[in-house]
């Protein structure tokens, strides 16, 4: 009897879950003018990115993108890194609540999982236009895997991660928290494995001193948590703005504790960054040259203003000043962080390549540092990736009714 009752309750819940989605789809058709405008703008940007990407493939990426033989990885790679770091971070921050059972974090969990899926899809979207032969990748990643390659592990594990996160979200919508939690745990494990491999893609290039070493995988995981905290804070605030609602006490409490995670992780990354520089200057000439680019060279604005001030120091001050209560300060801080972190990834990928490999040989050909500037094609694709996240966020809020179903 009791079993039957449970089954009936489950069936009702599942039916309720899907019914909610149906109502949500209908709700998506009802929105303010601002909502529609945002949908249309982000949709058009996304389409423009598809067009730019296809055009780049058609005319040849060498002509369409700013990358070169010496600097083969450009803004599309750094944007991919930005998205997957954000995705992993969202997964990790959301897991504190619904996987590891810290109740205060529960209210932000469902939106986090949804956004982690959308940000990683945005990452895949951007990198699909960077990879020259994505179709070959689908075939030879499977039939000719190289197990020493971090790129292979990263791609494969992120594939598994996307699967687990998608299944997790489905079961969250269906109100089946147990399976969702199990899937969430698998998502965390595969996400950490995938993400540390992404760090190792850079960290294991033993010809590139700026990246080489165990620092990168460790830094990437810590950095992901920082990104995740900022992103979920910002989008939760934006969601309540979009839906025109006031936050209840539990959601305020969730944002309050997430703010604390943000504070902790900003301090961690500041600590990491300080030691990267201190240790780096004891290294070779090439590594020092890269660090000088950031400290006093052509990337100093990016480093001091965008990475340090907007990405970490000002948000840290605002988080502390807000005491986890002042929503305006918290929202401003998280928005600044997301903006700054984008450039943190950009600088990491680009500056690592700007010191020529023959720099220390003292030859005339490579006496100067290299340069890179993103092309119009690349910028449009990046904006399209960001627009994709915006678009799916807006639709998700309506379709899944503000991601409100409680997790017990």
């Amino acid at each position: 009897m009791a079993e039957n009752a449970t089954k009936t309750a489950e069936a009702t819940a599942i039916a309720g879950g899907w019914a909610g989605v149906r109502i949500g789809v209908l709700q998506a058709l009802h929105g303010t003018k601002g909502y529609y405008a945002a949908l249309i703008i982000s949709g058009m940007l996304f389409l423009a990115a598809v067009a730019a990407g296809l055009h780049a493939k058609y005319i040849g990426t060498m002509h369409a993108y700013g990358a070169s033989r010496e600097v083969p990885w450009g803004i599309l790679i750094s944007t991919y890194v930005f998205f997957v770091v954000t995705s992993t971070g969202l997964c990790l921050v959301s897991s504190i609540g619904h996987v590891f059972g810290v109740k205060d974090f529960m209210p932000i969990a469902k939106r986090s999982v949804f956004l982690s899926i959308m940000t990683i899809v945005a990452g895949f979207f951007v990198i699909a236009f960077e990879i020259e032969n994505p179709f070959r990748m689908a075939i030879y990643n499977v039939i000719s895997p190289n197990l020493t390659s971090n790129i292979w592990w990263m791609g494969t594990l992120y594939g598994a991660y996307l699967f687990f996160m998608a299944v997790e979200f489905t079961f969250l919508v269906l109100n089946k928290p147990r399976i969702a939690t199990a899937m969430g745990f698998m998502g965390v494990v595969s996400g950490i494995a995938a993400h540390s491999n992404l760090g190792a893609v850079f960290g294991m290039l033993h010809g590139r001193e700026f990246w080489y070493g165990p620092y990168m995988p460790i830094y990437f995981i810590a950095s992901a948590m920082m990104s995740g905290a900022a992103t979920i804070i910002f989008f939760t605030w934006l969601a309540y703005k979009t839906n025109g609602e006031r936050m209840d006490a539990t959601m305020m409490r969730a944002l309050n504790v997430t703010t604390k995670v943000g504070i902790l992780l900003i301090c961690t990354i500041l600590f990491f960054t300080a030691w990267k520089f201190i240790a780096g200057f004891v290294g070779g000439e090439a590594k020092s040259a890269a660090l000088e680019l950031l400290l006093t060279g052509s990337y100093a604005f990016n480093f001091w203003v965008l990475e340090m001030a907007l990405g970490m120091v000002i948000p840290l001050a605002l988080f502390v000043l807000s005491r986890g209560q002042n929503l305006k300060l918290i929202a401003a801080a998280s928005a600044m962080m997301i903006f700054g972190i984008f450039f943190m990834r950009y600088d990491l990928v680009i500056v690592g390549q700007l010191v020529p490999v023959y720099y220390e040989l003292g030859v005339n050909d490579y006496a100067q540092l290299l340069s890179y500037a993103p092309s119009a094609h690349e910028i449009v694709i990046v904006l399209g990736g960001l627009a994709f996240v915006g678009l799916t966020f807006l639709l998700g809020e309506k379709i899944f009714s503000g991601h409100k179903s409680e997790i017990h």
């Binding site: 990879i131 895997p145 010809g207």
Partner: protein, 251 residues
């Protein structure tokens, strides 16, 4: 630790005439130590004690992992930058105008006693622990098990360019025509596989800068240059740890 320190000395104090005789002799021995370390990958232990290693030349040679173990010795001071090697390479291997498989770098030293400029030919070093092969997700680039050449199987290349970022020698470029990363293969597909004995660049060089051959063959010029006590032999970017098979010397 020792090889790194010696390598720096080797680069900066190339004029050995100023070094007293005994020191010079020791230096040359240490030079051989470095050579041993980078020559065969697995011969590190054999060369850690120089005298012991050279007590048995055959044992030393047998430690080379490939047969033939293709290698090149570049006599740096002989290069006059005529670029015939580059032209021959482009013609032989259909290298597109925007790419190159070999190049000649210039280094100026205004304070030098005689020549103020020297030329350094560079190409793929066919490393024994190649970072490009380590990073390639689909084994599109691989170390040939019989001859040690780092090769490309173009149809497997996804174009992620990890190998280009990984290469410590800037030896790779993306070939748009074949839709894959391309690189020097010691002319294996264009010449060696067809019975030729030399790479196009080595054959075209009028100054005998590039000596190409089998490092595991004790009778070869490359073996006898690399294992000559009177020669200082070095590799580029030894600190990258890729164990290259292109060696540099003077004289």
């Amino acid at each position: 630790m020792i090889p790194n320190r010696i390598k720096t000395e080797g680069l900066k104090k190339e004029d050995l005439k100023i070094v007293p005789d005994i020191e010079r002799r020791q230096f040359l021995k240490m030079g051989l130590l470095i050579t041993g370390v980078f020559a065969g990958g697995s011969i590190l232990s054999a060369t850690s004690i120089v005298n012991k290693a050279f007590a048995s030349v055959r044992e030393f040679a047998e430690k080379y992992p490939y047969k033939p173990h293709y290698s090149m010795v570049v006599h740096q001071d002989r290069c006059i930058d005529c670029e015939l090697c580059m032209t021959a390479c482009v013609k032989t291997n259909n290298v597109p105008t925007y790419g190159y498989r070999t190049k000649i770098l210039e280094r100026d030293d205004p304070k030098a006693a005689d020549r103020k400029r020297e030329f350094i030919p560079v190409l793929c070093n066919q490393c024994n622990t190649p970072p490009c092969v380590l990073g390639c997700p689909t084994k599109a680039t691989y170390k040939n098990h019989s001859n040690g050449i780092v090769m490309m199987e173009s149809k497997k290349c996804i174009g992620c360019k990890t190998c280009m970022a990984a290469c410590p020698y800037n030896a790779r470029y993306f070939n748009e025509e074949i839709g894959a990363v391309d690189k020097c293969d010691f002319c294996f597909s264009s010449r060696l596989s067809k019975g030729e004995k030399l790479t196009a660049c080595a054959e075209a060089c009028p100054a005998k800068v590039r000596i190409f051959g089998d490092l595991s063959d004790t009778a070869s010029d490359v073996y006898n240059t690399v294992h000559n006590l009177e020669k200082t032999v070095w590799v580029l970017r030894a600190e990258a740890g890729a164990k290259p098979n292109v060696f540099y010397t003077k004289g």
